[in-house]
């Protein structure tokens, strides 16, 4: 078990966006988090990554409690994320974007940089190589020097994943990675997710594309109005009447 949420709660004013949610994520699996719009999924992610502080409850990552810890510290510990609305550094090249991810695995400071110590030089070389590896991994090596803002939407999503991977995470959190991708691109994304899982990563993702969710996830957690309403394998969830009512709806056709 790599991540354990227990009784996680977050309120915005009078609104309880996340209401005593608990679930575990097993090591080296793909876990899906689904639910209607505004159910609180992204908020749960923001709590895990330290962007919000939980009002109640606990988040334990690899045996360590991380509720309310600074985001950058959490990244250091091994959780990386992508954002629901893409947040790349638009005016920087794809490679520089990925170098951002390398940042937390480097040490040298301003003085080292000004003096160009051997350690610093070494480290810069390592970062470049590491970043290129990630670009290669997601298939963007030939776009390394393009401005990230000029990449197509699907490629921007991939680039965000590469940046997250560059932090050497244990747990990768993806918020609607297939949003704006067509079916073909989604297929490729599923392949990528498998590749990541097989390389030892654990993936936690939010997605509304049921094709992807059913194919890629080992387990699913369903939330509605901030509360967890179901948890299980994709097959179980697909058959859960409550989930059908609240989220999936009845397919008239097919």
């Amino acid at each position: 078990m790599i991540l354990k949420l227990s009784n996680l709660t977050k309120r915005f004013g009078g609104l309880t966006a996340v209401d005593r949610v608990s679930f575990d994520v097993e090591e080296q699996t793909v876990m899906g988090l689904i639910g209607p719009n505004g159910a609180g999924k992204t908020t749960i992610f923001n709590l895990i990554t330290g962007n919000y502080k939980p009002d109640e409850g606990e988040i334990v990552f690899q045996g360590q409690s991380i509720g309310g810890v600074w985001t950058n510290k959490i990244v250091m510990l091994g959780i990386a994320r992508t954002f629901q609305t893409i947040r790349l550094f638009q005016n920087l090249s794809a490679l520089e974007n990925v170098l951002a991810g390398c940042h937390c695995r480097m040490k040298s400071g301003p003085i080292g940089a000004m003096l160009k110590t051997p350690g610093q030089k070494q480290e810069e070389l390592w970062a470049l190589e590491h970043a290129m590896k990630q670009l290669q991994f997601v298939g963007l090596a030939d776009r390394a020097e393009l401005l990230s803002g000029n990449l197509s939407y699907g490629n921007q999503r991939l680039l965000e994943i590469a940046r997250a991977l560059a932090t050497n995470p244990r747990l990768l959190i993806l918020d609607e990675p297939a949003g704006g991708m067509n079916e073909q691109e989604t297929e490729a994304l599923i392949e990528l997710i498998f590749k990541m899982r097989d390389s030892g990563l654990t993936v936690l993702l939010i997605e509304h594309d049921m094709g992807l969710v059913m194919k890629a996830c080992n387990r699913l957690v369903v939330v509605e109005y901030g509360k967890k309403i179901a948890e299980g394998t994709p097959e179980e969830i697909q058959a859960d009447s409550r989930v059908i009512e609240a989220y999936l709806g009845i397919d008239e056709e097919e």
């Binding site: 962007n51 954002f83 629901q84």
Partner: protein, 301 residues
């Protein structure tokens, strides 16, 4: 105790003027996210235009004090508003799509131009409004003599704030202004004529600044070409203190700044008065990072 209240009214009088200038600042900022450093100089221009109109047209004699003054205020506001629109078209419009700080530099340039243009046109010497245009009436409030004009300035600020607030928050055009402030492209898609909206804002904001300039001229009598810099800075401080972009915030910030200055001068040190005011500002911002009334919209991640 009596001295305390006396100082309080001193502070309110100064604060009322800060507030009036801050309203214009906040208005422009609210739409363009532009710190219009030339706003203080539009205030100066208002003071000078007021003097010119006053001495060349002898409005008071022909129309009486009330209507003469009203007409004067309207003319100054109109003219300064037009200058504001012109300023926007020349110095800011080409920079709409560029980094925000580029427009700040353009605004600083405009400030230099205005200040020196006033100096070249009117000369570097101090100019003086004719004395006793307004009847010097002193009212007794709880046994304390308060000149009527101070009350009028405060009332004018409060009235303008109210009107502006209603306009921005409650009318359709006001909503359109706020929408254009946030996303001009999307505002266009709603059918909002963004250029018109911005023009309107650059008419109102500077007009308020001009009105404040006129009031300072009428009240204190002495004006010069550099006066806008200090007042502009103070008003900017006031706007930030209240939460920039927020109309009641500008009012609260202005009044508060005036009072802090007066009380700081009275009970701590006159020479350190501005430092005290800035210190209080910093303290307030440490605890309320978006000012007293500024909205704290958490960025949705």
């Amino acid at each position: 105790m009596e001295e305390f209240f006396q100082q309080l009214t001193n502070g309110l009088a100064v604060g009322g003027i800060y507030a009036l200038i801050a309203l214009g600042y906040t208005m422009v900022y609210g739409v363009l996210k532009l710190i219009n450093f030339a706003h203080g100089d539009l205030f100066t221009i208002g003071a000078y235009l007021g003097l010119t109109l006053l001495t060349s047209m002898s409005l008071m004699d022909s129309l009486g004090v009330f209507f003469g003054l009203l007409l004067l205020v309207l003319m100054v506001m109109g003219l300064v508003g037009l200058i504001g629109v012109l300023l926007d078209q020349i110095a800011y419009k080409p920079l709409r799509q560029s980094p925000r700080l580029s427009a700040v530099v353009s605004a600083l340039g405009a400030s230099i131009v205005f200040q020196n243009a006033v100096m070249l046109i009117y000369g570097a010497r101090f100019q003086v409004y004719p004395q006793d245009i307004l009847p010097r009436i002193v009212i007794n409030i709880f046994g304390m003599p308060v000149p009527l004009i101070r009350i009028m300035i405060l009332m004018a600020s409060i009235f303008m704030m109210g009107a502006l607030y209603f306009f921005i928050q409650r009318t359709k055009v006001g909503t359109a202004i706020r929408a254009a402030a946030e996303d001009q492209g999307a505002a266009r898609l709603m059918g909002i004529d963004v250029n018109r909206v911005i023009m309107l804002v650059f008419l109102i904001g500077p007009a308020l600044g001009g009105a404040a300039g006129l009031m300072v001229g009428l009240y204190y009598g002495q004006i010069n070409f550099t006066m806008g810099w200090i007042y502009g800075l103070k008003a900017f401080t006031a706007a930030i203190l209240g939460g920039i972009g927020n109309i009641p915030g500008a009012m609260v910030g202005g009044i508060l700044l005036g009072v802090i200055e007066a009380l700081g001068a009275a009970y701590i040190s006159i020479a350190w008065k501005d430092a005290i005011a800035f210190f209080v500002l910093i303290l307030i911002l440490i605890f309320r990072p978006t000012g007293l009334l500024g909205e704290r919209v958490a960025e949705k991640i």
